[in-house]
């Protein structure tokens, strides 16, 4: 779309976006329709892609459609495959979309929908999509190498190792946080527990079928698998109401924690075709289906946002998580605006399939815009719920008590008027005993999704079905991530330990395999357990750790991009990656500093640890701890978390020092010093086939 007509069209889209965003930002006191947010986001994404994404493509990288990509040069039909750009877009999006963009905005909604929405839109355009896109191009021009290798090559061996070590720590925290979301969603919920347990035999059936009965037939058995899942959700209600089976599937959070730890160990050791792979297929299809369904649902239902644009909790006293808007909103939103983990997909995985450099903006920049859109939908789903219900679901029991009457009174005192009847009726609607203190994001999101789906497809008792459908959808792909992550972590750990004990490297031998798997499970299991048993609900403790870690990894990836730009002698465009880098570094180091040293025990790890230490010294109990042993455990956990945060800060600051060194050397040099692989021209026939 070039020429005058195209320019006018783009100007109109920009105006539409600005008008909708203005409405979202400025209208106060009356509820607004979710469509305003959706249209604002989509039009700004389009304009940003057309102008900013293309600016980076043309000016910064000078993308060249005649340049052969690693997928073409090393085409083997297996790992390196030039792929149709729409097919690759779908693959890339499915690989980067996960629980993060769904949970982050739900938690951020405690400050109102406005701050989170603004950051989701601005963050993705200026930081998240820039990072994904730049890493994709940099990796594609370096033989599709992974981020650790790229850092090592462009910045040196030490920062490369530091970055890899950081990535391992981040993975442990991510696994723990994700597992905790599942635990919080399934605790005391026989219906949810039954459906999640039912996925195991269903996956094994699929695995055996694809291995032996009709090898490799994914589609037919996936359809059967999904039908069986729906049946499990359908009959889960009867199971939960059954006098014998209901209690048999009711577990406390601690019990589920131990089950998950044992399960994670077994699933990582079993052959992949039996459980991990088929469940991955189910979860992928369910994830994409639900996301598409949710988008259609929001367009059909056009719900009104009941959450205020801003709540009084922007001052940092919120019940869901503590901390002021800056920097903690940005740490909490995390993945939907910018996610460091995408650097691991954009390097190594996706570039091996990239058929032409000219596809990179669509896949890198565009894929991340889609992820941000998912986060916007999560924000909408959290904001259409009655705010009273939202706060009752997400506040810890220590604040709102354990019965509907107390909870309704406390939440109403905050200004979000709700009656005990509404709380019990909502619980009954979704087929649960209680909705109080179900922190973690997943149950809240499930209520929002259920309300939207129920409005599209109404029916008696269908609300409970959709709620458990949404819970299963989240639990399924989180559990897949836990399986796959434990496996990947096991290989990383074996690699790491192999430096000292060479025998540990043997990935096929049972001894090292079991040892490394147990080590990996023990690491995330420890954080999971401390999160589940935390008196403030766990999310308050683990989610900021996760957010800091994730944003820190993004900071490392963006520092790499900046170094590469300087090495390419493109100094005048370095601001493209410097702006998001500086912002992320300021946010993460400031947030890390506050989490360690803040005097408020609800925020600072050391303050909380010292509070428990003082109480233990005086022999006092702090509710809800029942004995001094539990209290010294909490004290110890907080010291560990403070140490871990310090370690994160050390990692990011040391990479910063090395980047500044690399940039100074690059500026001193008169010629390009980056390590791009030499240019190879595509043949005319290759150009035609893949462009």
């Amino acid at each position: 779309m070039n020429g005058a007509a195209g320019k006018i069209l783009w100007a109109l889209i920009a105006l539409l976006g600005a008008f909708c965003l203005g409405t979202v930002a400025l209208r106060r006191g009356e509820p607004i329709n979710a469509l305003w947010i959706v249209i604002a986001a989509v039009s700004i994404y389009l304009v940003a892609y057309r102008y900013y994404g293309m600016f980076i493509a043309r000016r910064v990288f000078e993308l060249d459609p005649t340049r052969a990509t690693p997928a073409v040069l090393r085409n083997d039909g297996l790992d390196f495959v030039p792929t149709n750009k729409h097919v690759l877009f779908g693959h890339h999006f499915a690989a980067i979309a996960g629980a993060g963009p769904l949970v982050g905005p739900v938690l951020a909604a405690q400050m109102g929908y406005l701050p989170g929405t603004l950051w989701l839109i601005a963050g993705v355009v200026l930081a998240g999509a820039v990072q994904d896109f730049m890493v994709l191009v940099i990796s594609s021009r370096r033989d599709a190498r992974s981020i650790g290798d790229l850092v090592r090559e462009e910045m040196g061996r030490i920062p490369g190792t530091v970055a890899l070590f950081g990535a391992f720590l981040i993975m442990i925290i991510i696994l723990a946080v994700l597992a905790m979301i599942v635990v919080k969603a399934l605790a005391e919920s026989p219906w949810g527990m039954f459906t999640v347990i039912a996925t195991i035999p269903i996956a094994i059936l699929m695995g055996v079928y694809m291995r032996y009965i009709r090898p490799g037939r994914i589609a037919e058995i996936s359809v059967v698998g999904i039908l069986l899942l729906v049946a499990a959700i359908w009959f889960g209600g009867d199971i939960a109401a059954h006098p014998t089976w209901g209690p048999a599937f009711t577990f406390t959070g601690t019990q589920i924690t131990w089950m998950l730890i044992g399960y994670g160990f077994v699933a990582a050791v079993l052959p992949v075709w039996l459980l991990l792979a088929p469940r991955d297929y189910l979860s992928t299809f369910l994830k994409i289906g639900t996301i598409v369904g949710l988008a259609i649902g929001i367009l059909i239902v056009m719900p009104e946002l009941k959450m205020p644009a801003l709540t009084q909790f922007t001052d940092g006293t919120g019940p869901v998580w503590k901390g002021s808007l800056f920097p903690f909103l940005f740490i909490t939103i995390a993945c939907g605006a910018v996610s460091g983990f995408h650097a691991l997909i954009s390097s190594g995985t996706t570039p091996k399939l990239l058929a032409n450099e000219a596809h990179a903006p669509y896949i890198g920049y565009g894929g991340m815009l889609m992820e941000s859109f998912v986060a916007i939908m999560a924000m909408v789903a959290a904001s259409i719920i009655d705010p009273g219900v939202y706060f009752a679901m997400n506040s810890p029991a220590a604040l709102i008590g354990t019965d509907p009457a107390t909870a309704a009174r406390v939440v109403s005192e905050w200004g979000f008027v709700v009656t005990p009847e509404v709380l019990t009726a909502t619980a009954a609607d979704i087929g649960e005993h209680s909705i109080l203190s179900r922190a973690g994001g997943a149950p809240t999101l499930a209520v929002g999704i259920a309300q939207i789906f129920h409005a599209v497809l109404p029916g008696e008792g269908m609300m409970a079905f959709w709620y458990h459908f949404a819970i299963l959808f989240e639990a399924l792909f989180i559990l897949t991530a836990v399986d796959a992550g434990t496996r990947a972590g096991r290989f990383m750990l074996q690699d790491l330990l192999g430096n000292f004990v060479p025998a540990m490297r043997k990935t096929e031998a049972w001894g090292p395999n079991l040892l490394a798997t147990a080590g990996c499970v023990a690491l995330w299991g420890y954080f999971l357990y401390q999160g589940v048993t935390d008196p403030l609900g766990g999310i308050n403790m683990l989610w900021p750790l996760f957010g800091i870690a994730n944003q820190m990894l993004a900071g490392i990836a963006l520092m790499l991009c900046t170094v590469v730009i300087f090495k390419m002698k493109k100094d005048r465009y370095a601001w493209v990656s410097i702006i998001p880098t500086v912002w992320l570094l300021v946010c993460t180091t400031y947030a890390g500093w506050i989490k360690i040293f803040d005097p408020d025990p609800g925020v600072g790890f050391l303050a909380q640890a010292n509070r428990y230490r003082a109480a233990i010294a005086q022999g006092q109990l702090i509710a809800p701890s029942a004995d001094l042993r539990g209290m010294s455990q909490i004290m110890f956990n907080n010291y560990v978390n403070a140490g871990l945060t310090a370690l994160f800060l050390l990692v990011v600051l040391s990479v910063l020092v090395y980047s500044i060194g690399a940039i100074r050397r690059a500026r001193a040099s008169a010629v390009r010093t980056d390590r791009e692989t030499p240019y190879v021209a595509l043949t005319a026939e290759q150009m035609q086939r893949y462009l």
Binding site: G77, G90, G98, A219, G348, A484, A488, T507
Partner: protein, 74 residues
């Protein structure tokens, strides 16, 4: 326009679309296009026997989750 022949691929659009959808779904599971693999083997390595589909599928499954693959986002 009358009397003009419809191009050969006119009715094939939906087939292409369906094929792309299947390719996307398979690739999301770590299984790249098998036809493309066979074509590549015939064109570039005529001396080697291409794997049959079940072997290809198993090989890809192992490659995705064994070792460094299987990395998932949060």
């Amino acid at each position: 326009m009358a009397g003009q022949l419809v191009p050969l691929d006119h009715f094939a659009t939906h087939k292409v679309l369906w094929r792309r959808l299947v390719q996307t779904a398979r690739l999301c599971c770590g299984v790249p296009d098998y036809d493309n693999y066979v074509r590549h083997m015939l064109e570039c390595h005529p001396d080697r026997e291409p794997m049959d589909y079940p072997t290809f599928f198993r090989e890809r499954q192992e490659a995705r989750y064994g070792g460094r693959g299987g990395f998932r986002c949060c």
